[in-house]
């Protein structure tokens, strides 16, 4: 009788632990999904900010006309890649837009009267803000993948994952730069 009772208690405890672990993993997966969408939100926001920004600065330099075209073209490229499910292509296009952002900031430095302009200062803050938000969104996305992967591969949790593989076993790709870009960035030095 008492052995049966103890057995029931143990089984109940194991079951509860199983449910808790299952729920925890689901929560982690959804956090990754949400953080992934957060990157999209920030990319979308950046596109809108840059579009209006370049329109404002346009009067100062004709250089910007082609820049705006470039941004729009890259944006289309990124959206097509996303629709086709090509993550690498998309990341490459979005990274190109990031380069244009730092170019705009360089242009600001070259025009003293533009730099002193109150509106221009606001725009510069807006660029920094936009790029930071995007970078932090990527960081948060990678952090949530790290947390999920670490939990998934941990000793006891791995057994739960094995029992419900289709629901709990996801393969998320860390947001990273393609190999050739890393090489190019590593070789980069500032020329003064």
């Amino acid at each position: 009788m008492s052995i049966l009772f103890i057995l029931i208690v143990i089984i109940a405890a194991v079951f509860l632990w199983f449910v808790a672990t299952y729920n925890k993993l689901i929560r982690l997966i959804e956090a990754v999904n949400n953080n992934n969408k957060q990157i999209d939100i920030q990319l979308d926001r950046r596109f809108k900010v840059f579009e209006s920004l370049i329109n404002v600065v346009k009067s100062y330099m004709d250089y910007e006309k082609t820049t705006l075209k470039d941004v729009v073209a890259l944006r289309n490229q990124a959206q097509q890649a996303q629709a086709a499910g090509d993550q690498q292509q998309r990341i490459a296009a979005e990274n190109e837009i990031s380069k244009i952002a730092s170019n705009i900031n360089l242009v600001f430095e070259q025009y003293p009267d533009l730099k002193a302009n109150q509106n221009a200062l606001q725009l510069q803050e807006e660029i920094v803000n936009t790029e930071n938000k995007l970078a932090y969104a990527k960081q948060a996305y990678n952090d949530s993948i790290e947390q999920y992967n670490a939990t998934k591969k941990s000793f006891f949790e791995a057994m739960v994952v094995n029992l419900a593989k289709d629901k709990l076993d996801k393969n998320f790709v860390y947001w990273n730069l393609p190999e050739e870009q890393i090489a190019a960035k590593e070789a980069y030095t500032v020329k003064l």
Binding site: A31, N35, Q38, Q42, Q118, L121, Q122, E125, V128, N129, N132, K133, Y136, A137, Q139, A140, D143, S144
Partner: protein
């Protein structure tokens, strides 16, 4: 401020290990706290029942209480009082925290200058990095001294406040580091925790005081079996305040280290926070007299003391005269820098 920037060397830090270590410390403090609470409740119960059943010896009463043959009334009552006072403090905490200061809220619509907009932007960026679901309320306190704090009992009701002196003197990345520290307090649930510790320790002290006076003034009617118990109560009356103060300080220091580690986690860089801390310290020693005056003119400064980024008492500003001023709520700047992996080269 270039002399500040060149006065330290930074190493990469392991913020994950820092967080883990401090999490474990916090858990121990909480467990000890609950044990003390239970023990005191049971002590009061034992004392009260020993007056009723004066034939029974103390250990029999104690065992009867633990096995619930006697209702541990005092334990239940102190527990209920603790819960009620916690609820009250949680529900009006943000108002309590801003008491006495000259403050205003910042939103994207009401930002009056680029700096204010920048402050809001910085916090919004970190909110994304921290993965918080709610944007905390942002307040600016009109004051020359450099300080900041976070408050609120949950992510939803969270707020950060920052003095105008701090905004004026820090650059964007340093401001971001300070805000990352404050947001980490919110993320780690520190506000709730330190608040809980201070409320509980206050109730604990009141309870032990009551017990002490009851025991001392009813001594003429005491039973022989009570003697040992009264001695225990007298010792506790003087020991417990010291123990609770040390425990809450240990707790708040641990949480400061955690918030520093959390800042590095969000920024992936330990230099901005180190620069900000050094700048603040330098600024306090430059303007000690002025700030001392300003702090003492602000009412209710002691409610914010544990929550502040930088403890004003640490640089000789004695605004709150209490037992707690003897020990700082914050670790020494040098220790904080060391935990950040930064070595101060100035001495």
């Amino acid at each position: 401020m270039s002399h500040v920037a060149s006065s330290f060397t930074a190493k990469p830090t392991d913020w994950r290990a820092q967080l883990r270590r401090n999490q474990a410390r916090t858990r121990w403090v909480i467990i000890v706290f609950i044990l003390i609470y239970l023990a005191l409740g049971l002590l009061i119960d034992t004392y009260l029942y020993s007056n009723t059943y004066y034939n029974a010896n103390l250990s029999t009463i104690f065992i009867a209480l633990i096995t619930l043959q006697l209702t541990p009334k005092a334990t239940l009552i102190t527990g209920a009082i603790a819960l009620i006072s916690l609820f009250i403090t949680y529900s009006c905490y943000d108002k309590i925290m801003l008491l006495g200061t000259n403050y205003r809220e910042i939103t994207p619509e009401t930002a009056q200058s680029i700096t204010e907009k920048q402050l809001y932007n910085v916090i919004e960026e970190l909110k994304i990095a921290a993965g918080l679901s709610y944007m905390p309320k942002v307040y600016i306190i009109e004051a020359d001294y450099m300080n900041a704090f976070a408050s609120g009992y949950s992510e939803k009701s969270a707020m950060v406040a920052i003095t105008s002196g701090l905004i004026a003197k820090l650059d964007r990345s340093e401001l971001q580091a300070v805000m990352a520290h404050e947001l980490s307090h919110i993320r780690h649930g520190d506000i709730k925790l330190t608040l809980m510790a201070s409320v509980l320790s206050n109730i604990l002290l009141i309870a032990v005081d009551l017990l002490f006076y009851t025991a001392v003034f009813s001594r003429d009617r005491r039973r022989s079996g009570n003697n040992g118990l009264v001695m225990v109560i007298i010792v506790l009356r003087y020991l417990l305040p010291v123990v609770t103060v040390l425990m809450t300080l240990y707790l708040s220091r641990t949480r400061e280290y955690m918030a520093d580690a959390g800042c590095v986690e969000l920024m992936r860089d330990n230099v901005p926070l180190a620069k900000a801390l050094l700048k603040i310290q330098q600024d306090y020693s430059d303007n000690a007299e002025h700030y001392n005056q300003e702090y003492s003119q602000t009412a209710h400064e002691d409610v914010r003391r544990a929550a502040y980024l930088y403890d004003p008492a640490q640089c000789g500003l004695q605004s709150a005269q209490s037992l707690a001023t003897l020990f700082s709520t914050h670790p020494d700047i040098k220790d904080r820098l060391a935990a950040l992996g930064v070595k101060d080269n100035r001495e």
